[in-house]
């Protein structure tokens, strides 16, 4: 009985770092070359297709401004570099907003 409890606690202790790692992260990207009406939906759909992305919001303050993409993603599956590569390969290079 005690052995089972110890084994269970050991497994939970080993699993704990994994649960901490699979965390949600949020990042804000400034997207360039994308000041047209159709560009924001393209950026939004492209980012939503990246595995690990949980939600994407693309906002454009006005027609001439660069869109700003707020992305929530699982950082165990994807990362900022992959997200930037995804928008760049759709034709809209992006960079981290400061």
């Amino acid at each position: 009985m005690i052995r089972r409890i110890i084994a269970g606690a050991a497994i939970a202790a080993m699993a704990l770092p994994l649960t901490v790692q699979a965390a949600e992260k949020m990042v804000v990207l400034n997207v360039t070359n994308a000041n047209c009406e159709l560009c924001a939906p393209i950026v939004q759909k492209t980012l939503a297709r990246v595995p690990g992305v949980k939600s994407v919001k693309v906002k454009q303050s006005d027609q001439m401004a660069d869109p700003v993409a707020t992305i929530t993603f699982d950082d165990a599956v994807t990362n900022v570099t992959t997200l930037i590569a995804a928008t760049t390969n759709a034709g809209y290079p992006s960079h981290l907003a400061n």
């Binding site: 070359n33 994308a34 000041n35 047209c36 009406e37 159709l38 560009c39 924001a40 939906p41 393209i42 759909k45 492209t46 760049t88 390969n89 759709a90 034709g91 809209y92 290079p93």
Partner: protein, 138 residues
């Protein structure tokens, strides 16, 4: 100068005059090609990137197309200029007499120009109109 010689030289002058007239169908075909190219330039952002996205084509080179976006009004103006002049040449200008055997004397020569002009018209309408309409149902 004998009468025969005079007749020959008059015929020659008439033929030369006809041949030197600018071939309207050929000109309209060139204009329609220019219109198509300019319409494609106007479509470079964002109809072409959207089509590429739907087809699953991706690549950093697409950003060269989107970088043309600030020039879209120039492409659109060139397109409308080509279309305006092209339609005028094809539909309104009185038919010039075509010299025998030249391109414009062939019965279908005007058709190529018309197809090109209408293609460019459809392209520019899609290039300018689609980005306005699509976000409503995307």
């Amino acid at each position: 100068m004998t009468r025969a010689t005079q007749q020959t030289s008059e015929d020659t002058m008439a033929t030369l005059r006809a041949a030197s007239m600018v071939d309207p169908s050929g000109k309209a075909a060139v204009i329609s090609l220019g219109g198509i190219l300019a319409a494609l330039g106007a479509a470079s952002c964002c109809v072409v990137p959207f089509a590429l996205f739907l087809l699953g084509v991706s690549g950093a080179w697409i950003s060269h197309l989107t970088a043309l976006e600030p020039y879209q009004p120039i492409f659109a103006s060139v397109t409308f200029g080509c279309l305006g002049y092209g339609f005028y040449v094809v539909y309104r200008r009185p038919r010039a007499t075509c010299a025998e055997g030249t391109y414009c004397a062939a019965p279908n020569s005007g058709r190529v120009a018309r197809i090109g002009l209408w293609t460019a018209t459809v392209l520019i309408i899609v290039a300018l109109g689609f980005p306005k309409v699509a976000p409503l149902f995307l």
